[in-house]
């Protein structure tokens, strides 16, 4: 009995000593202490970067892990954002309920969109999803939906204050809320990808015929992944709406979809922590580009993108893997 206990204790210690766990704990500690060290405005930016990271993670599940090429995730982000806005503005629902509802609504839409998308591959799927992204602002502006969406005027939302009378500013509270959601959703994603379902999803990407031969129900998994991916992006959208306090059709153009895609690739396709890097990239690099040159901000951004792809063709996660691999090989050779 005592030996089993000590064995369990050793197993636990070994598990906790793994580099990924240590890294995660350290990063979380730093992240949790930031709100007391930096200005509200930087917090606002970091919160927004995390929101984008969740959206990019959603896209990653679909495109990175499942190989379904989507350029339409700005549409799901928009649906999530508008769901939250309509619930808060028209129905006076508290902001924390909007997150799961937005997620479920997008899950349904994503699944429904995934069904006909089953027949489409590669470029054709890209166009179909791109069409969705392009059509979404038009749909949001349309007159039949105007009583709900506020049409072109959009909906203004009130920023929530910290609950229980905590001594936190609105920005700090939203940062913590977003951080909590990030931790929750990223761990769910890790669990998903490490499970049987996750392996089935990846198998569909790598070799659909072999997967089908092994008994994987392609149609079910593909549509389900679409739904889950939309769920993630929808929750991100709802959070985004709360942080910006405003939704309008112009906020969700296909340029945003392209931005999410860039974040996905730069962070690392098929990498969950890479989504965080992607989110930070999407938020901060355009600002850096503008800082360098006001008139040629777009050109500077493009050049930065090209350099990033040169240096890290498989994204930031790919670079990390490369470096870790080199270090591991070096230490193995030394031993």
């Amino acid at each position: 009995m005592a030996r089993r206990n000590s064995q369990n204790w050793n197993n636990l210690r070994a598990a906790l000593a793994r580099p990924q766990v240590i890294l995660t704990v350290v990063s979380l500690t730093i992240a949790a202490s930031l709100p007391f060290a930096v200005k509200n405005f930087i917090l606002f930016q970091l919160t927004l970067a995390m929101v984008y990271a969740i959206a990019i993670l959603g896209l990653n599940l679909l495109t990175g892990f499942n190989g379904q090429f989507s350029l339409g995730h700005s549409a799901f982000f928009a649906i999530g954002a508008y769901t939250a806005a309509i619930m808060m503005d028209r129905f006076d629902v508290a902001y924390y309920w909007t997150l799961p509802v937005a997620g479920v609504v997008c899950l349904a839409f994503g699944f429904l969109f995934g069904l006909p998308a089953l027949r489409l591959q590669g470029i054709y799927l890209a166009l179909a999803t791109f069409s969705l992204a392009v059509a979404m602002p038009q749909i949001l502006k349309s007159t039949p939906l105007e009583p709900w969406t506020g049409g072109v005027q959009g909906i203004v939302i009130i920023k929530p204050d910290a609950p229980f009378g905590l001594q936190l500013s609105s920005d700090q509270w939203l940062y913590f809320l977003t951080l909590a959601v990030v931790v929750l959703m990223f761990s769910c994603a890790v669990n998903l990808t490490n499970s049987r379902t996750g392996r089935a999803i990846v198998a569909i990407r790598d070799n659909p015929i072999a997967a089908r031969a092994m008994g994987v129900d392609i149609a079910y998994y593909k549509s389900m992944t679409f739904g889950v991916s939309a769920f993630y992006t929808g929750v991100a959208g709802a959070l985004g709406a709360i942080v910006i306090q405003f939704v309008a059709p112009d906020s969700f153009t296909f340029a945003f979809s392209i931005g999410l895609f860039v974040g996905l690739v730069v962070g690392g396709v098929g990498s969950i922590p890479g989504a965080l890097f992607g989110g930070l990239f999407v938020l901060f690099v355009p600002n850096i580009a503008e800082h360098v040159s006001k008139g040629l901000a777009g050109a500077v951004y493009g050049i930065i993108l090209i350099l990033v792809i040169y240096l890290m063709p498989s994204g930031a996660a790919g670079l990390v893997r490369l470096i870790v691999g080199k270090i591991a090989r070096k230490s193995a050779r030394q031993n």
Partner: protein
């Protein structure tokens, strides 16, 4: 005793005078203002679909360079910080927060675009930072009761449409009106103004309404529909590119209605010339600024000042575009407000002075048009002049008219 009383009185008088002077000399600053500089924030679309309007931001920057070269305002230099929002509301929110919380500007001036301004309006009013002279004519910016820190500048779109409506009711009461409008805030504001202006006759007079999106490549299909509707008045609510397309297509298909063009697109160099000067002859519009390409102003002192400014401080600027005149004039308006503030550069005083502009005349405003604001009137420019394009220049048609806003 008489001497003592007189001496006391003199001392008291001198003391009072000194005291008053020190009260006047007391400088009051909010973040962004100091003895040496005034920080002014701005958000403009320098990239993205609305990047054509970035020219306004550049014109304003050039004008402030001139002001600084000539000594600044009451001895203080202007530090003009302008950020790009790519016409995206979330980006506008981010840039506004950056300007207020990171750069700590005194006020945000001429932020452009209705969606961007809507996105930041609540924030600016909550933070009590002036959102001054916003670069959009949406009627909702003149609402001092609910948004005391937000003020527009150019004539509200509904007022302009109202002027056209009055003109139609007077001269063409039985006409059929076809409207082409951009399917967003700006377009719909004009349509509302026209409908309100026509009042009870709107339902019978307006025979067609054709929206278009900025993502449409051309408006040809809409023009064909408008012609088919039998309209003989064409109310053209489009931005420059689409205005040019509309004028060109109407001429191509042989449709010759009375053409009412919204003043956003009345630039000769930017719209009428590409569309074809012959095609544009007879187009009506209304404006409040002098057209820089109009030879009639050649010896006008206001025009000569503007030309000198462009040559010295903004030689790359497009002299044929009305955006440069717009930027120049709105910047002058802000300089007037800041001058009126004197040494009391608090945000509250900035808004107070902005609401205290009385009959201000500026070089490039059309003669007879003056800037007026009050505590209940947050529309600095309300007057416009209906004009007709002769094929070479805009000529005035009738007196300067006052625009009314019938409420939101």
């Amino acid at each position: 005793m008489k001497h003592r009383g007189l001496r006391l009185l003199t001392v008291a008088a001198i003391g009072l005078a000194l005291g008053m002077q020190s009260a006047f000399a007391q400088k009051k600053y909010d973040p962004g203002a100091s003895d040496t500089e005034i920080k002014i924030g701005n958000i403009n679309p320098y990239s993205g679909p609305a990047s054509a309007y970035g020219l306004i931001g550049k014109s304003i920057a050039a004008y402030f360079k001139k002001v600084n070269a000539e000594g600044g305002i009451n001895g203080r230099k202007i530090n003009f910080i302008s950020y790009d929002d790519a016409y995206s509301p979330p980006k506008a929110v981010e840039q506004a927060r950056k300007l207020v919380e990171s750069d700590e500007v005194l006020l945000i001036f001429q932020s452009l675009g209705t969606p961007s301004n809507t996105a930041i309006q609540k924030y600016m009013n909550a933070k009590k930072v002036p959102q001054l002279f916003v670069a959009t004519g949406a009627t909702k910016w003149g609402d001092p009761k609910n948004f005391p820190w937000t003020m527009g500048w150019q004539p509200p779109y509904q007022a302009e449409a109202g002027i056209y409506a009055r003109y139609l009711l007077e001269k063409y009461p039985n006409a059929k009106v076809g409207i082409l409008y951009q399917n967003d805030d700006y377009g719909k504001d004009y349509v509302k103004g026209m409908k309100d202006g026509l009042g009870a006759k709107a339902a019978t007079m307006i025979v067609a309404e054709q929206p278009y999106e900025t993502s449409d490549p051309t408006v040809d299909s809409q023009i064909v529909n408008l012609k088919a509707s039998g309209a003989d008045i064409f109310f053209n609510v489009t931005t420059p590119k689409f205005a040019a397309q509309a004028i060109k297509k109407a001429a191509e298909i042989g449709w010759k209605p009375l053409h009412l063009l919204n003043n956003v697109s009345q630039s000769v160099g930017g719209v009428l010339k590409p569309a074809g000067l012959d095609n544009s002859t007879g187009v009506l519009s209304s404006y409040y600024l002098k057209d820089a390409t109009d030879p009639a102003w050649k010896s006008d002192p206001g025009y000569k000042d503007w030309l000198a400014f462009m040559d010295s401080y903004f030689p790359d600027g497009d002299k044929t575009s009305s955006f440069t005149v717009y930027g120049y004039t709105v910047a002058q308006t802000l300089v007037q407000v800041l001058k009126q503030c004197g040494d009391n550069l608090t945000r509250e005083n900035v808004m107070k002075q902005a609401a205290n502009l009385k009959n201000i005349e500026l070089g490039m405003l059309l003669p007879g048009i003056k800037i007026n604001t009050s505590a209940t009137d947050f529309y600095p420019i309300k007057q416009m002049q209906i004009q007709r394009f002769t094929g070479e220049r805009w000529e005035s048609l009738g007196p300067v008219m006052n625009g009314e806003v019938r409420g939101n």
